[in-house]
């Protein structure tokens, strides 16, 4: 039997989890690429030129988006859990997403 659950806070939870998961999966790759610098700066450069490709740019945008969304979502949770107020949660969830969009879009605009 299907289960209805698509309300804002649940979506915020899912987004936070998927972004955390995404970041955790990306992280080893990120470390690995940086480690190139150890042996060969040229290799790193070669890799970095890839970032000029639009598709890669988009992926980067996605990554920064994930980081931002996870950051703001995480801060929202920390505030909810540890600060002595519990403001309307939905607004915070929305604000977090909005904030991440803002940051990531800034990043994208800068990158172009």
């Amino acid at each position: 039997m299907k289960v209805a659950r698509a309300h804002p806070l649940w979506l915020a939870y899912l987004l936070h989890r998927l972004s955390g998961l995404g970041l955790a999966l990306f992280l080893p790759l990120h470390f690995w690429v940086l480690s190139y610098a150890l042996n060969d700066a040229a290799k790193l450069d070669a890799f970095l030129t890839l970032t000029e490709i639009p598709l890669v740019k988009l992926a980067e945008f996605g990554l920064v988006f994930l980081l931002a969304v996870h950051l703001f979502g995480g801060l929202r949770l920390l505030a909810l859990e540890w600060l002595p107020w519990s403001a309307p949660q939905k607004t915070w969830a929305a604000a977090a997403v909005a904030g991440s969009f803002l940051v990531s879009t800034t990043f994208l605009l800068q990158a172009i």
Partner: protein, 109 residues
């Protein structure tokens, strides 16, 4: 470590990371202007005790944080329980720490 201590560790590591991530994103936005290059990155970071401490702590925090987070997901979504789950999470945490340490060493040493 009890569930509660894992929780505290995850929240505290998140708190530690929050400023790092903001700075990190900020630096990226600034740095990416005009494209990235290895020398640019390394020029900024190499030999800098500040960036060593910065990224070093970042890596420690993220290893703890992500390992605990993934442990939760393994339990809830993959049905992994008990010692097996803890072991996998520990391996993930140590793996991230090792890779991260290597990367920090690479860019700051």
């Amino acid at each position: 470590m009890s569930e509660f201590h894992l929780y505290m560790a995850q929240r505290l590591s998140a708190l530690v990371m929050a400023p790092f991530v903001i700075v990190h994103i900020g630096v990226m936005i600034y740095a990416i202007q005009g494209g990235l290059s290895a020398s640019e990155i390394l020029g900024r970071t190499q030999g800098s005790a500040f960036w060593f401490a910065f990224y070093g702590m970042f890596v420690i925090a993220v290893s703890i944080h992500a390992a605990i987070g993934l442990r939760t997901i393994l339990g809830e979504w993959a049905g992994l329980r008990g010692g097996a789950r803890d072991a996998v999470a520990a391996v993930i945490g140590l793996g991230l720490l090792a890779l991260g340490a290597q990367a920090v060493w690479a860019v700051t040493a």
